[in-house]
Symmetry: C2
Subunit: 238 residues, 2 copies
C-alpha cells in the first residue's frame, strides 16, 4: 500500500502549505516545463475519473437512505461522464483508451484502495477531497495542452461533479452525529498528502528538488486553497 | 430471501411458457384492468433502475479488464440516467422520488440480492436478463399511463441500456472459458422466474387465478420472446 506512489519516481517532500492569511494570489508559472505529454495526461485523467466512478458507486450501494444514495449515485454518474468524455478524446486521436490508461493501473488502483475509509462516510469524504483536488489539478494542467484539446478537457473536467450533493449528504451525517466531524477532519487531512502525490506523479520533474518545488508550489497552493473551501463548506478544519 | 415476493399478494403459478414454434403473435389486451396507479408505477420503475445501476457498478468495480470494466460502467451509467429521468417525472408531478420508491424497498433490495451470482459473470448476466425483461415490461405498461407521460417514459426506458456492451463482455468471457456457457444458461433460467414475479407484483390482479392468467399471459409471452433473443445472442439456450 505504501509502495505504489514511489514507483514512478523517488518520493519527494510535499510542498509546505502556506498559512491561510499569507496565501499568495495565483501565480502564472510556465506549465510547459512540467507538462506531461498529451496521451499520458489523458490516460491518467481518464483513469482517475473511472476510479472516482467506482469509489462513488460503491458508496452509493452502501448508503441505505434513498435520497442520499441518489445524490451519491448522481456524483458517480458525473465521474463516469467525465471518464467517457476523456476516453472519447483519446479515441478521436486514434488511440485506445484502455492502452492509454494501463500504465497508471497500479498507481490509481492503489490510490483507490487508499480512499476506502472505515465506513462509507469516510469513503465519500475521500472521494470529495481527492476528486476535488485532482479535478482542479488536471483543469489547471489542461491550459498547457497543445491545440484545442485543452479547453475541451478543461470544460469537461470543470462540469458539474455532483459536489453539492456529496456535501449535503455529509452535512446531514455530521448533523446527526456531531462526533463524526473531528473524525472526518482528521481523515481529510490524511488524504491530502496521498492525493497530491498522485498529482505530482503526473508532472515531468527534473529531479532537482529546489527548482521542482518552485515550479510546483504555486499550483499546489491553489489546490489547497480550493480544498480548504470544500472542508469549510462541511464546517471542518482543513 | 424467499419471502419478499409474496409480501404484496399471494404467490401464484408462473405463466406456462409457450413452446417456441407455437408462440402466438402479440395480442392487444386491455392494460387498464391490470395497470398500476401512476405514482407506484414510477416509484417501482425508478427503484428498479437505481438497483440496476448498483448491480452494474458493483460488477464494473470487480472486472479487472479495463475495456470490459468500461463497457459495464457505461451500462451502469445508462441505468442511472433512466433512474434520474423517472425521478424527474416524479418531481414534475410534485412528488418526492424517495417517497415514491420507498414502498418497493424490501422487494427491490431483495431482488437485487437474488441477482448476485457466484462471480461477476453471473451477476452481469443477471443484470442483462433482469434489466432486459423489466425494461420491456415497464415499456409495455407505459402505454396504459394517463396523459403524455406514457410516451416519455417509454422512450426513456427504451433508450440505450448498454446491452450490446454487456453482451460483448459476456461473449468474450464465454469464448475464453467454454464451460461457462452451460453454467450461465442454467443461471439465466433461474433468474427468469424471480424477475417475472417482480413484474407481476406491479400489476393490479383480481385474485381470480384464471382470469388473471389470461390477462398476464400475452404480456409475459412477449417478454420471454425478447429474453430468448438476448440469450440467443450469447449462444445460450433460454
Amino acid at each position: 500500500m505504501s509502495t505504489w506512489f514511489t514507483r514512478r519516481r523517488p518520493a519527494v517532500e510535499l510542498p509546505r502549505l502556506s498559512p491561510r492569511a499569507q496565501r499568495a494570489p495565483a501565480v502564472r508559472i510556465d506549465l510547459h516545463e512540467v507538462m506531461p505529454d498529451l496521451l499520458p495526461y489523458l490516460g491518467q485523467a481518464a483513469y482517475i475519473q473511472l476510479e472516482q466512478f467506482r469509489t462513488l458507486s460503491r458508496v452509493a450501494a452502501e448508503v441505505s437512505d434513498l435520497p442520499a444514495a441518489e445524490r451519491v449515485a448522481g456524483a458517480a454518474g458525473h465521474a463516469l461522464s467525465k471518464h467517457q468524455g476523456i476516453a472519447a478524446e483519446i479515441r478521436r486521436r486514434g488511440d485506445d483508451p484502455a492502452a492509454a490508461m494501463r500504465p497508471f493501473a497500479d498507481e490509481i488502483e492503489g490510490f483507490g484502495a487508499v480512499l476506502v475509509g472505515a465506513d462509507w462516510r469516510e469513503t465519500l469524504l475521500a472521494a470529495l477531497v481527492a476528486g476535488g483536488l485532482l479535478d482542479d489539478f488536471f483543469i489547471r494542467l489542461a491550459a498547457g495542452l497543445p491545440g484545442d484539446i485543452g479547453p475541451r478537457v478543461a470544460q469537461l473536467l470543470g462540469s458539474d461533479s455532483g459536489q453539492e450533493g456529496m456535501l449535503s449528504v455529509l452535512r446531514d451525517e455530521i448533523e446527526q452525529d456531531p462526533k463524526l466531524a473531528s473524525r472526518l477532519a482528521m481523515w481529510g487531512r490524511r488524504l491530502v498528502g496521498d492525493t497530491l502525490l498522485v498529482a505530482r506523479s503526473a508532472l515531468h520533474l527534473s529531479g532537482n528538488r529546489i527548482t521542482d518545488e518552485e515550479r510546483i508550489e504555486p499550483i499546489f497552493t491553489e489546490l489547497i486553497a480550493a480544498h480548504t473551501r470544500r472542508m469549510d463548506a462541511l464546517g471542518l478544519t482543513a
